[in-house]
Every structure is written in C-alpha cells, then in structure tokens.
C-alpha cells in the first residue's frame, strides 16, 4: 500500500512540474524566435509592444487552450473507456466530434454560398463555434435518448459509432457539392487548431471544461465499481441508467466543447488514459482522473511545442502531432500481450 502511495505522489508531483515546464516552454518556443528575456519581460508587462502582443495574444492563449483541451479530451476518453469497458474507446465513439463537424460543414459548405454577405459574420467569431456546439449537442441528445431506452451499453456504443459514420457520409456529400475555397476552409478546420481563441472564448471553454471535470470527478466511486462489471455495480447500489446518462453527458460536454473551439483533436482521448495508467500503475479513478487530466494537458502542450518546431513559420498541424503520439500508443495496446490492453 505504501509503495504505490509514494509512486502516486511522486508521479503527481512530477506531472505538475512537467506541466509547468511545458507551459513555459510553449511560451518561449513559438513558431518565431524570441529571447527568453523578451518573453519574460512581456509576461510582466515590461516588454516591447510587438513582443507583448505576440506573447499575450498568440502564445499565452494557445498554451492555456492546450491545457484545457488536453485535460478535457483525456478525461472524456477515460470516462468512455470505463463506461464501455473497452480500452480503445475514446470521445469519438460518442459521435460528438462528428456532430460538431457536421455543424461546421453545414455552416461552411452550404450556408455560405446561400447567404454570401451575412456569411462573413457566420464564418467568424462565435458563429462557427455555436454551429459546432449545436451539432455536438444534437448528437449528445440522441446518444442519451438511446442510452435511456437500451439496457445494453454495447448497443449504445454501436449506435454512437454508426451515427458517426452516417454523419461522415453526409459531410462527404456536402464536400462533393462545394467549391474549392470552402472545401479548403473545412479541411483546415478538421486539422485541429489551438490558436485563434480569444480570451472570452477561453473563458467559455474553461467554464465548460470545469463543469465537465467536476461532474466527472463526482462519479469516481461508481466508476471504480464499474471496473468490476455492471452486475457488481448494480448489486452494490449504483443506479446504472442514471450513472450512464451522467457519464455520457459529462463526456459529451467535455469533448463537444473542445471540438467546438479547437476542431476535432485526434487520439488524445484514447491514448492519454493509457499513458496515465502506465505512469500511476493504478486503475483507481480517484487517482486516475486528476492524473489523466494532468497527462492530457502535458501531452497537448508538448504537441503544440512540436507543431511549432519546424521553424521559419512553418507548422505541423496539431492533429498530425497528436496522431504521431497516439498511434504508437494504440498499437501498443492492441499488439502487446504485456501491453496496456492487459493493464486495462
């Protein structure tokens, strides 16, 4: 008991330090070169005005978004993995990110040609975010309705996956009928983006993330019971229907909000919970939930740093980096007998 307690404490401390380190690194290592001292001065308001704008308007919001989005997506994935008792589950099984994509596709690919002038305001600011949120919300309602009607959780999983596929087909259709310029804007959206989120938007994202994380954390006890199976959970007092709905709601709020602001972020939800299980050596959600949130934040911060590495202004899209990190982890799960699939 004591040995794993110290391991957990050490891992938590290490992660917090790592996150702070990565946060600072993300501020220092943007896609253009800046001196350490210039960055520091800008943070405290004594910097060159041009530098200050870069740090305060570009890099700081991006770093904060990375922390929020990383934590939210990872915890959402953890909830899905426990709920469906599947190590390969992630927020995308809900179809929530597909729903957001549908909202965005409808706005960019159809509404714009139909309403050219007003579309400029739909394009920008909150319009797109609201469209994505609405799409994610609609899917969330469908999933929760299905969950309330169906006893078997696997049915809910299959419905979520089928819904995601159906939406994908509709979006392909929309793409087929749209012109080059619109197509490109949609494709760029799907690559994920941590920048260009204003402080009011960050506040909204923070609120949604906080709400989702709080709800999720209140569920740690039933989540731990669910590790032992649904039958055990029910006989020990867990109200399965209610619990399922709350978990789905929390996961949808987390994943839906992130996707609305940042586009679909790939693999973070699936891979990070496994990384956390490896680091902490436990499946207890009381440790795992904050642990996963920390790992997620650190991972996305690291991804953001990597995406700016090429230099000269060139960037690697965020989703490419998270896929490069996440895919080996997923492979490890599937292939390794001693891999994470067993540890799950």
């Amino acid at each position: 008991m004591n040995s794993s307690r110290t391991r957990i404490a050490a891992a938590m401390t290490g992660l917090v330090l790592l996150m702070i380190l990565l946060f600072m690194a993300d501020l220092f290592l943007g896609s253009t070169r800046m001196n350490f001292s210039d960055v520091l001065r800008s943070l405290f308001g004594h910097g060159d005005p041009g530098d200050e704008i870069i740090v305060m308007q570009f890099r700081l919001p991006k770093a904060i978004t990375a922390v929020l989005a990383g934590a939210a997506m990872s915890v959402s994935g953890l909830l899905m993995q426990t709920l469906f008792r599947n190590p390969l589950a992630g927020p995308d099984v809900l179809g929530v990110s597909s729903g957001a994509g549908l909202g965005v596709a409808l706005t960019l690919l159809t509404l714009t040609p139909l309403f050219t002038l007003p579309a400029n305001s739909l394009f920008a600011g909150w319009g797109l975010i609201l469209a994505a949120w609405a799409g994610a919300g609609a899917v969330m309602i469908v999933i929760m309705t299905v969950s309330a009607r169906m006893r078997d959780i696997m049915t809910v999983l299959i419905v979520g996956l089928l819904l995601a596929s159906a939406i994908s087909a509709v979006v392909s259709l929309l793409q087929y009928f749209s012109n080059e310029a619109m197509l490109r804007t949609y494709v760029i959206w799907t690559m994920g983006n941590l920048g260009n989120i204003s402080y009011p938007q960050i506040r909204a994202l923070a609120l949604a993330t906080a709400a989702g994380l709080v709800i999720a954390f209140m569920m740690v006890k039933p989540l731990n019971a669910m590790l032992m199976g649904e039958t055990f959970s029910r006989t020990v007092g867990v109200r399965m229907q209610r619990t399922r709905i709350v978990l789905l709601a929390s996961a949808s709020i987390l994943a839906g909000s992130v996707t609305a602001f940042c586009g679909p972020l790939a693999f973070i939800g699936i891979a990070v919970p496994h990384i956390a299980r490896l680091v902490f050596g436990t499946t207890d959600h009381r440790t795992l939930m904050p642990g996963v949130a920390l790992c997620g934040a650190a991972t996305l911060l690291a991804s953001d740093i990597i995406s700016g590495l090429p230099g000269g202004g060139h960037i690697i899209p965020v989703n490419t980096v998270t896929s490069l990190i996440g895919i080996p982890v997923v492979l490890w799960i599937i292939l390794g007998k001693t891999g994470l699939g067993r540890r799950f």
């Binding site: 253009t32 870069i54 400029n120 600011g125 920048g195 202004g313």
Partner: protein
C-alpha cells in the same frame, strides 16, 4: 455600371487603336513598349492551319505539351494532321469551364456563342447573367461534378476547360471519349498579368476575331507599361504589402512569383513575402506572419472580408496590427454580385491595366489622386 465594361473596352480600343494602326498583329505592341512576357501559349501559322501549343498546361505536368490545329471550316486538312487534334474555326458553340473564359468572349463580343458555363451562379457580367436566366446558357456543373450528358447534349464545337491534372483521367476525358473537343486553357497559371490577358488572342483565333483580340491586347499592354513607368518614378521607399488572411491559426501565404505579386511590384510596392518561392501557397503560422506584417503598410486581398469587422471577427489578434489601424486595407470586392460573382475574375483578367491602376492608386495614391478604384474597395 453593368454595361460599363464593354463600353470601357470599346472606348479603349477606339482611342488606343488610333495610335496602334499599322503595327504588326502578333508579338510586341509598339517599338516603345516592352514585349509581353512569353507564357505557356504558343501560336504559329502554318500552311492551311494555325498551330496552337500549350506548354505545361497544369501544375507539375513535367514538360507536357498539348497541341491543337485550328482549321477553317471549309478548308481541307493539311497532310499529316490528326483529326483528333483539329478544331474547326470559327467555333459556333462553346462551353466555358471558367468565368474568365466567358469574360474573354465578352470582351470580343462573341459571348452569343457560349451555350454552357460552369458555375453560372458565380458570373458577374450582366449580359451573361441575362442569357443564363433566360436559359440561353446552361450550367454544366462544377469540377468533379460535371454534367456530362448536358455538355454533350449542348453539342458544343469546343469545351474550353482548364487542366488540373493529366486529362487522361477525369470527367474531361469522358467528354473527349464522347467526341467532344476539349481545350486545356492554362491562363490561370500565367504569372504575369499581361501574359494572362494575351490569351485573348486564342479566343480571337477561335472566334474569327483575331484583329479585335490583337487590338485589345496591344492597347492594354501599352497602357500597362505606361503605368509601370509612372509607378517606377514614385518617390520614397516601396511600401510593404501584406496579402491574404488567416484561418484557424494558419496563414496560407502566396509565393512571391504570382501575378498578384507582379502587380504589386509593378505598382511600386513590395510584397513582404516576395522571398517565398514555389508554385503553391505555403501554410505558415499566424504568429510569424504577424511579425512580418509589422513591415507592411498596406493590406490587400484579406480573404472574403468586406469590412474591418469581418477581419476582427475572423481573427481578433489582427486588430493588434498597426496595419489594421492604418486604414489601408483593400479587397477586390468592388464589383461583386450577391450570389458570388466577382468582376475581378472576369473583366479584371482582360484589363490588367485597370487592375494596375487600382494598385498604383492604393500603393502610391499621390501618383493617381483622381482615380476611383475600379475593382477594389477600401475596408471600413
């Protein structure tokens, strides 16, 4: 305003052709102006036909050349020429896959020959719109979504298309298989505004209006180079110009050697990314563009923005640019239709001298104080 374009063109022809009478048809304009830079279009008169060659008809074609022979309707085919490469002229029915092609036909007043167009909702010209509305011109659909049956049923003598990749695949190939003549226009790849305009000569040959085409091209070219000389005499440093707009934290930066880069340089400006080479836009972080934008005084073509608030909503960080508050942000939305048509892509291609005038008045307003911008508007 809508009938202004052909009137302006006609006026220009009349005024300027008085000066150009007697000059040769092909090649350079007058002894005073430099020649139009050679592009991808090569025209050669041979016995009984006109040989038209398009080199590098699409990006990364690797030295590919496409050759057609324009032969008079009543003439016999010269020996050694394959019927497949022959286009009988003058063309009586044409389908245009780009509104630019239609605009060139309009400039030659040959637009009555157009029976089909791709993307009819994006047409600006009012005469064309009228014929579209009345059903005289049919919409044949977009790139991947071409309505082949409709094209074939229109029985065109020629489909003026543009190649994006090898034509042996794709819907254009299906048309060729069905016996429809397809021409691969490469005007959109030309990097000099005058070279792009010079493709008018092709349309002249196809419609039997070579003289008119040559006159227009000569006139435009001379006007253009006059403006270039004027801009070269501007005093002071060349103002920095920023192009494009960000989207989702990515800025697709145009390379320096595009035709709009040319226009900026010819107008006495300096494109701040002129060091960027290549044939495609490069995705760059907004942060790095932001940095370089501090060297710019003028912002041209910020995406689809009509107002400053559009830019602000799209990326609020742009409002911190001194460029943003400088009030010299211009977009090519001066002549647009609500449905999406933009004359910049139509008559703008035929009149690069007018474009250059706009650019000069934007970049060096002191040189043309009375010029009201034609294609461009300042963003408020």
């Amino acid at each position: 305003m809508t009938k202004l374009v052909p009137l302006v063109i006609a006026a220009a022809i009349i005024l300027l052709s008085c000066r150009n009478e007697g000059k040769s048809r092909t090649g350079g304009t007058g002894v005073d102006s430099p020649a139009i830079p050679q592009g991808r279009l090569f025209i050669e008169r041979i016995q009984g036909a006109t040989r038209v060659e398009v080199r590098e008809p699409w990006q990364n074609s690797g030295g590919r050349e496409l050759v057609w022979y324009l032969v008079g309707r009543d003439s016999t085919l010269p020996p050694g020429i394959d019927e497949e490469q022959v286009i009988r002229v003058p063309v009586r029915r044409m389908v245009c896959m780009s509104t630019t092609h239609a605009a060139m036909m309009r400039a030659l007043e040959a637009d009555s020959l157009i029976v089909g167009i791709s993307g009819s909702s994006l047409v600006y010209d009012s005469i064309l719109l009228e014929r579209i509305r009345s059903g005289g011109i049919k919409d044949v659909g977009y790139e991947g979504n071409l309505n082949r049956e409709l094209v074939i049923s229109l029985e065109p003598d020629l489909v003026m298309a543009y190649g994006v990749a090898d034509p042996s695949s794709g819907s254009n190939a299906r048309l060729a298989e069905a016996g429809v003549k397809v021409f691969y226009n490469a005007d959109y790849l030309e990097q000099h505004p005058l070279t792009r305009c010079a493709w008018l000569r092709l349309f002249g040959l196809l419609t039997g209006k070579e003289r008119m085409a040559d006159s227009i091209v000569s006139a435009v070219s001379e006007s253009y180079y006059t403006l270039v000389s004027m801009a070269a005499g501007a005093e002071g440093d060349k103002p920095g110009v920023l192009l494009g707009a960000p989207w989702e934290d990515v800025w697709y930066v145009s390379p320096g050697n595009t035709y709009i880069g040319r226009l900026i340089e010819d107008a006495g400006g300096h494109y701040i990314f002129s060091d960027m080479t290549g044939s495609n836009s490069v995705p760059v972080s907004v942060e790095s563009v932001f940095r370089r934008a501090s060297d710019a005084e003028i912002w041209i073509n910020p995406g689809t923005a009509d107002m400053l608030s559009d830019i602000a909503l799209s990326d609020h960080r742009m409002t911190s640019l001194s460029l943003f508050r400088g009030g010299r942000i211009w977009n090519n939305r001066g002549r647009i239709r609500p449905e999406g048509g933009n004359d910049y892509w139509e008559s703008g291609v035929v009149r690069p001298d007018l474009l250059l005038k706009d650019f000069i008045s934007i970049i060096h307003p002191e040189l043309l104080p009375d010029h009201d911008q034609y294609y461009y508007i300042r963003l408020e």
